[in-house]
Symmetry: D2
């Protein structure tokens, strides 16, 4: 399923080494102002080659508006945005194909698509497609702010490689020449009460569904999350203190019964270490049938988690935009 | 959205204190044998009143087949199963209504549905609806075993209140007269490679979507999960050692690129402590506008996590049945 | 797919000779008043045994509210309504099974569901399920009138067996002891402009999708319909004369570009003659492999079209309710 | 909703006068060979400027493969195909805007999208988007032939302006300088028995849903269609004569109970006269508030029906591809 959402509905397409990646957004309100400048900040934050530990592959990442925009305003028709893949070096991948890269989708993609998948650079599984998610997120935030101007979605890195000191953690990884993972937190403030739909579209269900579409995410927890399992009811329960939706605490992460409860919606995600590590690894050579040692060359992030915050904000925004439209 | 799934599609309905709760399953293959006996084991495991720490409310929980079954075999038409609510004492709830119970959906439901919700016993938000999920799960497992007989879905409690000794943990909760949470693990064995659909229907996305529909779940992690965020790439990557899908490790929890990779699919969920604790708590009296102390009377589980394993297996089975049908 | 709609979403279940037929409606607003009396008129109009030419099978057709209703008001949770099948004589069908009845789904159902279908009385293909559509239609009309009180949906028979004199046409059929078809018209008045969604959810697409779920419907045309194909552009085009959506004519049937244009939405449907005719017919005896002559016994309508008007109004109401909610 | 289908799922985007129109197809099998040559025949048949009575606007209409294709074979990832809009003259439309063209979506689009729609050349409502449907149809036919090689979908014009002599009918329209409509028939041969899904996804429902997305279609009938309403049951019923799905007649148009019955699926559609007629017409000048006489200049088809056959085949193919995949 390349689509997500019921009213604000996104459909993604493209591969890392094809001509372009893109996204079509259906259900966009007409009259929303949208210019290249709206995309700059989030795209910049996602971009590699800037932070230490991120890939030196440089892409211009300029959004091209294919449809749904006229005189810098959305028309209400499907909005399609594409990004050209310019800085592509495909020959790196031809040789590697016979040895599926550990941690990557190479092996499962080949099994699922009978060897017809575009294997270059991860193809449709590439992290490059998160660029499209970010573009959709920018549009989603515009729609959210149309209905609920005070809603704010903010994501940050809270831990890299188990270390709360992020810069030194990255330096350690660079020194060790090994990739590392991280934990991000996302906070959605000022969300109206009652966003989310029983029974199957709890806000946790919707957010987690979207979040696990981001490559490398392996866990999500809301509020106290896994720690809640160690708590007593009397500790965990958030006491309502004001009918506007104020509570004495926020162990529930702003969601009760699957619905936003007035508190900040707070969740954390676990991002695994980048699969492409410079270290020597083992994998099966599917031609020879032997397990071989090899190491991955190429331009890769040591810590993909560093680039995930704007992506996390974006998929969250897509969920919230859709859920808000349904609630209304 | 009371529906979930694309081909094997479930639609749930009912409230805790209405005449019945039920589920309709669309996309069921014809000719699947189905009798009351098939449901007994999972329903029994879910039932309260047996384990210490579970509610003494006793329901017969006998599935009634309303449609889609003929001569003990599925017909291919929508399969509807209902359970009558017999052992209901509604007057407990009338009085409590003005003070939303902390941790429950009372307040958000009232806000979302403008006070028209059936507030008795949690209404449509009640854990009683998980009974329907279990019924769907039984059917889903039958369909899975039709296509992939060796698939096995098993869920177990691995921690209660932070304690690996489950019985003593429950005793502690009984002694303290306070509710507690827990952690469950679910393992899906012998799943074919390639189950799940890029981009938005990663197996993690589908499972988490369904799992967060279970009341009280606040976190999910696959494979090494949150611990993966502390690992190095060279540690975390699972080396393929055999083309049938065998690996030297299973840090990815059996899912790569959002697709089953041949390893056991393994994930853990965090269940918060039962919201209804016997302890004195604070909440807003919405009539007086004052925060009051009160305690919840009634027949409640001290540890709802104890009853979740068959529910977790069931929603997992629903996801797998649907994903298998789509893959085929 | 037993479901239809995106926000106002109906899911149907049941068979003619099972314990009950029913429908679950998701996306119902909370606080809509709903009592048995609301259903009486439409159910009465659909009922057999009253008009000449309709079946003498008598059912009480009393709606039973299973969920989503509390104190005579909708709660916002899924609304399930069932109807018991009381007046059922199943033995009629056992004998007939080996000879698929011409015009019925017997043969195709048996092929599709490998002989496991509930073959009694048409099973899930029975016209009895239209009872559930009518129930959903009653709810849909309540929701429509909540948002657009002046919308009116009215359906009538305009032709039976090619004859505009309906009573005499029916008498002719009774005399000839042969079933007949008919043509119905449906008019939706005072619909706001712009209902329907490009590209694939044109109002014609949505209405026709729902209408062809009614058994026996074989054609639909909007406005001038098939006659439009014989017209010139200068004749067919409806000239706008007022910005509120008034036109000099209504050849388009109130729909332009797939959207309601302010005119009455007008369409006609063709209902084939009841498949169960008292006349001697031929069909294959699937046991002997021989084509045999036989005639259908049982309690059947000579002209099923007579009972379709409230069903047609109801599916139209479901479409409009959903499309209105999406537009808003 | 810019998407259609459940497994073989198409999402359309673009406007007549934007940079391009396109379509994304999800659920495409990997390994299907696809080259530019596969598209030539259908695109050529759809193209204007060749038949008398069609627009002299000339587009190259070359499909550009944006994703999902690698080494001339589908990869299993979303397949996106775009067509550039090269031969565009926008200034024609600026002036006309204040007077909504009769028969067009101008007025309703402006109302629905608050004046933000791209009004040039019909924008997203333009017949140019049928180009994308044709591209999807080519892919759909490839998938159908992968599973059921003998299925054949063929559409033809059977009547223009009420005249069975098509060439002379067109000449009459040219002479009269007025646009005309027409009737098309589509036949789907050798379809397996049982395609379509009860209750709401009858084959008639699916086909009509898709067909009414084609601009200018105002009616559809299956088999005897509207004529069936004049028939007796003993005449209309098709007698089964062979268990492989052979019948003595085909009044049902190959569909019983909403499922393909083994006969050819046969249906006809009514196409209204092209809205843009050279004749003088009346419409409201929305600036002055006066009804004015005017005539439409520009390059338009006198008989759009002439270009619809490949489009009709294509949407039918999309429906059948999806329904076949679901049946399997």
């Amino acid at each position: 399923m390349n689509s997500f959402g019921r009213i604000f509905r996104i459909s993604i397409f493209g591969e890392s080494h094809g001509p372009m990646v893109g996204i079509t957004i259906d259900g966009v309100l007409p009259g929303i102002e949208l210019t290249m400048a709206d995309f700059e900040d989030k795209l910049q934050r996602r971009k590699g080659g800037i932070l230490p530990g991120t890939t030196p592959r440089k892409e211009e990442d300029t959004p091209i508006f294919v449809s749904g925009l006229f005189n810098d305003k959305t028309t209400g028709a499907p909005l399609t945005i594409v990004f050209e893949n310019k800085n592509v070096i495909s020959k790196d991948y031809e040789e590697l194909r016979k040895i599926p890269r550990p941690g990557h989708a190479d092996f499962v993609a080949s099994q699922k698509f009978n060897g017809f998948e575009d294997y270059r650079g991860g193809g449709h599984f590439s992290g490059r497609l998160t660029l499209c998610l970010v573009a959709a997120g920018v549009v989603a935030e515009k729609i959210i702010s149309h209905f609920s101007p005070s809603v704010n979605i903010q994501s940050s890195i809270i831990e890299i490689g188990g270390d709360k000191e992020i810069e030194s953690a990255i330096q350690k990884a660079i020194d060790a020449q090994d990739s590392i993972g991280g934990i991000l937190e996302c906070k959605i403030s000022n969300l109206p009460i009652g966003v989310g739909e029983p029974f199957f579209d709890s806000l946790e269900s919707l957010i987690s569904h979207a979040v696990f579409a981001i490559p490398a995410v392996k866990g999500i927890e809301f509020g106290s999350g896994f720690h809640a399992a160690k708590m007593k009811g009397s500790e965990h329960n958030d006491a309502l203190i004001d009918e506007s939706g104020k509570y004495a605490s926020n162990h529930a992460g702003g969601i009760a019964g699957g619905l936003s409860n007035g508190n900040d919606v707070v969740f954390r995600i676990a991002v695994k270490p980048t699969s492409s590590t410079p270290q020597v690894q083992n994998s099966l050579n599917t031609h020879s049938g032997e397990v071989e040692s090899f190491s991955i060359k190429g331009r890769h992030d040591l810590c993909i988690a560093l680039r995930v915050p704007p992506v996390l904000e974006s998929v969250s925004a897509c969920v919230i935009a859709d859920a808000l439209l349904i609630k209304l």
